[in-house]
């Protein structure tokens, strides 16, 4: 790295910091200078206690977040790793929300909660993607799925306590506004040990660029390095979250930009990333302050950074090289003797019947009897919609997993559900009386069209990356709405958590019909799906027109995802787990897998519908969030089981 680049960056940082201070205050420079010595006017008071600490915090946190992301990227050798994309920020946030809702009296220190939550999330991502796969797309897939899951867990917690949580929402949306120097002073001593450690880590991290095995052969204790580095990164990120809530993107963008500028050695990369982080956050906060001056409502910094960073992230996704995942040596699925499909059919039917006739009566006691016509009219549309969604997600997940040859692919990562949510957001923003469904489905359609246009030109892995980029953009846009903490926020949150509550009979029937038709088509295409198992090169050699087939299959999965997510928002993990579960239960051929996965999907979502009606009676829990949680837990149990068998 050349000296001029460093000086230029340092200059830009100081310039932006100066601009950041000036944009907030009406004071003249002389008055500002005076305020530093002696506060005379109220404006000077605000200057000293609000603007200056805000600028200081923006610089410090920008650096902290960039370092957290940079350390994770160096450790995982994954150019798109960051607390945001690996789901650790969501883990931290979820831990803070749960602690706030479940044990509000305990007042646990936020930074430790954040650290605990993010450690939990990172462990899950490592277990899901495989510890040796953290450099590949798999880590991002697992991270994004986890993001969605933890998001819905937090949403459930928030919605069951909505009045209390309003303040939580406003706080959690990442705003840099300050009242005094307390947070800056709180941060500095906690940063010191971390900053002392980083210079020691640079050399070993450089060695790690050879790959973990080669680095180990060269005498590096890789395990110890990994533990120290990840703990450090998570601690830094946890501090940032405890101080201002979630501000994504900086941790991802700053190190990636540093690499694009040519800083490849860890010391250079981290140093430059820190400066770029400060620059990014300052820039975003300037935009936030400026827009808040001109808009009636406040714009949190995180939303501003999302608007800035989202497009850059999408561009990065399409540009950065990414290692393809290695075949997982431990990935031999556990095989069972296949049970006859008819048996599974009966079981699914039994479960569905049970869910259909169970409920609670007015007094809250269990009531298991055939519902009368009125009750049935209330019950069947949502149940049918849930079952159809389960089937559809299972089928879409199967198609994508076969298409990409990646067991972690799932429809909620296609970006279609993110598009639906963004559409919904825009609809809420415009505030028309038109059906929100119209907005969500048009958002999804736009993404689907973009996907179909890109599909013949880009590899499928890139398309998934694009979906991940879109999901991150969505997250940022969401902050904007949630930060207002009003009725709209809750409606949106509810929708995002996958509620079948508002489903009308027509919608339910239409959804089931769509899923059945598209599922039937997928069944017909089983041979093509099998061909993709050979890899795209070979599939072409055997005679498949790969680009066309890819578009067709993506369209199939996309349409399923569109039909489902335009009604229920993004549903994490369901589409990921069900096809795999079908394999674990003994399905081997594509047709078996398709049947079994959709049967389990229908039964599971039917059961989830029952649970959503009854568990917190009379309150409801969104079916989608519940099913995501169940599938996520199944996955974790499955992983633990695999560990045990291997041990």
């Amino acid at each position: 790295m050349k000296r001029p680049a460093w000086s230029l960056l340092a200059l830009v940082t100081t310039q932006l910091a100066a601009l950041h201070i000036q944009i907030g205050t009406p004071l003249s420079l002389a008055q500002q200078w005076q305020a530093l010595h002696e506060v005379q006017s109220l404006e000077q008071l605000i200057f000293v206690h609000t603007h200056l600490p805000r600028t200081a915090l923006a610089v410090i946190l920008g650096m902290v977040m960039a370092l957290a992301g940079g350390l994770l990227q160096l450790l995982t050798q994954n150019p798109l790793a960051s607390p945001m994309t690996l789901g650790t920020s969501a883990g931290a946030w979820c831990a803070i929300v749960l602690a706030g809702v479940l044990a509000p009296t305990l007042q646990l220190p936020l930074e430790w909660l954040a650290l605990g939550g993010s450690l939990f999330a990172l462990t899950l991502v490592g277990a899901l993607a495989g510890w040796r796969q953290l450099h590949s797309l798999n880590a991002l897939l697992a991270g994004t799925a986890l993001n969605l899951l933890l998001g819905s867990v937090a949403a459930i917690a928030v919605m069951l306590n909505d009045q209390y949580s309003r303040t939580l929402l406003v706080w959690g949306t990442g705003d840099l506004a300050q009242n005094d120097w307390a947070w800056v002073l709180w941060l500095l001593p906690r940063l010191a040990p971390a900053l002392l450690l980083i210079p020691l880590l640079c050399k070993p991290l450089h060695l790690l660029q050879l790959g973990s095995q080669a680095a180990a052969a060269a005498g590096l204790n890789v395990m110890r390095l990994a533990i120290i580095t990840s703990l450090l990164a998570l601690w830094l990120n946890g501090l940032a979250i405890a101080a201002v809530g979630i501000i994504g993107f900086v941790s991802l963008l700053a190190p990636a930009l540093a690499r694009l500028l040519g800083a490849h050695k860890p010391a250079d990369n981290l140093g430059m990333a820190a400066l770029l982080g400060a620059i990014t956050l300052l820039l975003a906060d300037i935009v936030a302050i400026w827009l808040s001056h001109h808009l009636a409502d406040l714009l949190p910094t995180s939303a501003a950074i999302g608007l800035l960073g989202g497009p850059i992230l999408i561009w990065l996704c399409l540009k950065l090289p990414l290692a393809s995942s290695l075949p997982d040596a431990t990935g031999h699925p556990f095989r069972r003797q296949p049970t006859a499909l008819i048996g599974w059919c009966l079981l699914a039917a039994l479960i569905l019947l049970l869910s259909a006739i169970s409920g609670k009566d007015a007094a809250g006691h269990w009531l298991i009897s055939w519902p009368d016509a009125g009750l049935w009219a209330l019950r069947w549309p949502r149940m049918m919609a849930a079952c159809a969604a389960g089937m559809g997600l299972a089928i879409a997940g199967l198609i994508l997993q076969r298409l990409l040859n990646n067991p972690l692919a799932s429809p909620d990562l296609l970006g279609i559900s993110a598009g639906a949510s963004l559409g919904m957001l825009i609809g809420l923003g415009i505030g028309t009386s038109l059906s929100p469904w119209l907005f969500s489905s048009s958002g999804a359609v736009v993404v689907l069209l973009a996907l179909c246009w890109l599909a013949p030109r880009q590899s499928p892995a890139r398309l998934i990356l694009l979906g991940i980029g879109l999901s991150s953009l969505l997250e940022a846009a969401l902050q904007l709405v949630l930060a207002q903490g009003n009725q709209d926020s809750f409606q949106l949150l509810n929708w995002l958590a996958g509620s079948t509550y508002h489903t009308t009979p027509t919608q339910a029937i239409a959804l089931l019909g769509t899923v059945l038709i598209l599922g039937g088509i997928s069944l017909v295409f089983a041979r093509v799906l099998l061909l993709f198992g050979l890899g795209e090169t070979l599939a072409q050699a055997v005679g498949l027109a790969v680009p066309q087939a890819r578009v067709l299959l993506l369209l199939l999965a996309g349409l399923l995802s569109l039909a489902i997510s335009s009604q229920f928002g993004p549903l994490a993990f369901i589409g990921l787990v069900l096809p795999q579960l079908a394999i674990q239960l003994g399905a081997r051929t594509i047709k078996d897998q398709l049947w079994l996965a959709s049967l389990i999907g229908a039964a599971l979502l039917g059961l989830a519908d029952l649970a959503s009606r009854t568990v917190f009676f009379p309150s409801q829990i969104p079916v989608g969030a519940l099913a995501s949680l169940t599938c996520g837990s199944l996955l974790v149990i499955g992983l633990l089981g695999r560990r045990r068998r291997l041990a």
């Binding site: 017909v524 041979r527 099998l530 198992g533 890899g535 050699a541 055997v542 051929t589």
Partner: protein, 254 residues
Amino acid sequence: MFQLQKLKIARQGRTLLQINQLNLPPHGLTVILGHNGSGKSTLLKVLAGQLPSDEGQVLLQGRPIATYAPRELAKQIAFMPQQIPQPALMQVRELVELGRFAWRGWLARWQENDKERITAAMQQADVSHLAEHALDEISGGERQRAWLAMLLAQDAQMLLLDEPSSALDLAHQYQLMALLQRLVSTQSCAVVAILHDLNLALRYADRIIALQAGQIWFDGSPAQLLAHPQLDDLYGIELDILARPGKHAVAVVA
């Protein structure tokens, strides 16, 4: 069957392959030799239609190869890349069935003659007894034979094999080559294979094409190659030819 004219493939200013004129007939066992980076795999990919040429023409049956639809092409050519994937859960029979895709397409059911071809291909490649086994349960050599069975079921005029013997032990390497030789003589189809082992090539090939730095360095019969005065240049290492009375001559590093 193949006619290559003034073919040139370049990547980032580096010429990977430059062939003025090459014809491949629809019969015989042709082996491509060459050092690392000599353009063997590139040539094979061009022949398989996986890589479009930057300059020049590749004609298959007198028609530019780029004008062939994938299924049309697959009826003419069967291609096995250097690294074969091992899809989990797929059974050997299913794999071999996929070889019939070119003939039946997306939707049509397998017909009687498909089933006959599949059975025959599995017998030829000696994997009939593995039909119900999953691909990731069998050994590397068995897997390579299973892939060969798929290529056979494809009923193509020409098989293009990129290092088909790489994963095989010594005995299986010779078995595979013997099988290919048998195929060429009984099925009247052509095989083009990339090999690393000079002796294997000398023993089984009808024709050897040796590449060096992207250009054809030698094109002729094994006997001609053995008689080549600058044989040492092929791999850039000195070779001795040991003539063995009544047996094939072998080349060893001097």
